[in-house]
Symmetry: C2
Subunit: 231 residues, 2 copies
């Protein structure tokens, strides 16, 4: 059955313009047809179309189903790559695997200072539909690395950075009892001062393995590991 997105549920009883058009014009759904809707807050709705208007498709909710919540808050913070396509790819894939929050920061070696959150939100919603997820990951506007570190809520604070004398794999530093945040640096990596600052804030250095990974690949590996910790 077709899946739509309406973040104003359960208050509203219609799909927004774009979703209405897709439902009625593209997929040719009619009055009486049943559709599924996700609210981005963790609930699946089964609904019946009561007015197949292609600008405002109205429905009646038949039943609801809560998504199983994740065992801990999975938070990724990354210095975005120059190439925005890679960030779109990342948020799509991270949503597929499962992620609760993505933050972007600007550090010393950052290649990008601006992020278009709107574009990324669209990718996220499309990936949610594809992978049947009802809860939308939070995407935060880009801030400075220093600002990011000032306001950390996670108990399990990790920074992807490998020293020769300190090589702990991230997979051994995750547990389902603690909300986790992993910091992924830019292509030029964190500066030693940035790493020291994180350490002073209670972060632990972790490795993502022996391969030299690009920023977006490292980020996806970290997201995958957070999900593996729950399996």
């Amino acid at each position: 059955m077709h899946l739509f997105y309406q973040d104003q549920l359960p208050e509203t009883n219609y799909l927004d313009l774009e979703e209405s058009k897709h439902c009625v014009k593209v997929l040719r759904q009619q009055e009486g047809d049943e559709i599924n809707i996700i609210d981005g807050k963790g609930t699946f709705y089964k609904a019946k179309i009561t007015n197949a208007n292609h600008k405002k498709c109205e429905f009646e909710i038949l039943n609801t189903n809560k998504e199983k919540p994740s065992l801990f808050h999975r938070h990724l913070a990354i210095a975005p790559t120059k190439n925005m396509d890679k960030m779109e790819w990342l948020v799509e894939k991270a949503t597929e695997f499962g992620i609760d929050e993505i933050s972007f920061f600007q550090s010393f070696h950052s290649e990008r200072k601006v992020i278009k959150i709107d574009r990324l939100e669209k990718k996220v919603i499309s990936a949610m539909k594809q992978s049947l997820k009802a809860k939308k990951p939070i995407l935060n506007e880009i801030i400075s690395y220093h600002k990011l570190l000032e306001n950390i809520k996670a108990k399990n604070k990790l920074i992807a950075y490998v020293d020769f004398d300190n090589k702990v794999h991230m997979k051994n530093e995750l547990n389902t009892q603690q909300d986790a945040l992993i910091l992924i640096g830019p292509e030029g990596d964190f500066t030693p001062e940035e790493v020291d600052l994180a350490i002073s804030k209670g972060f632990k250095k972790v490795s993502l393995g022996n391969s030299r990974l690009r920023t977006e690949t490292a980020a996806l590996a970290a997201v995958h590991l957070m999900n593996l910790a729950m399996e």
Copy 2:
């Protein structure tokens, strides 16, 4: 230092046309400059340019360094997606993580019957340079699913397919003592008959987790797991 590819090493003492052009014209390397070269067979070479010709850049080998071999043969076999970009993305990311062999097969629900291996080879070589790997993964031409199953060498044979009564995560089925092959089906998944055929050939059904992943994402998750098994 810059890294180049020459699969005819150690027999030849020059870079091919494209690499010569990149070395001499783009990167402006000169006689006496030192460069690194990978042979795709697992060896890094340090060399000194003896003739900075942009069509045939000659060098003298200074020393060699063998890449640490992987603990087991990591083989991915996948039904390629309709969108070729996704396969290019996959071979690039799989190379970054580390993979020894990638096969493509055509099964009942396959969306694509043709694969341009040449294009994928270029992606692989570029990813090898980026991630500092000296051994090139083997890419095999697409064959039928039945043909693929006729000639399996791996001891550890896995198929990504989830039954309600049999949910074993792939991460629990890998060990460094056994060469592994994981089969990833097309968007429409394997048919029950295709799964039965694999079972009859000694394959074990494994899950990649609770999320519904696209074909290329599932494949990358499997590649990541094979590498995690070695950490």
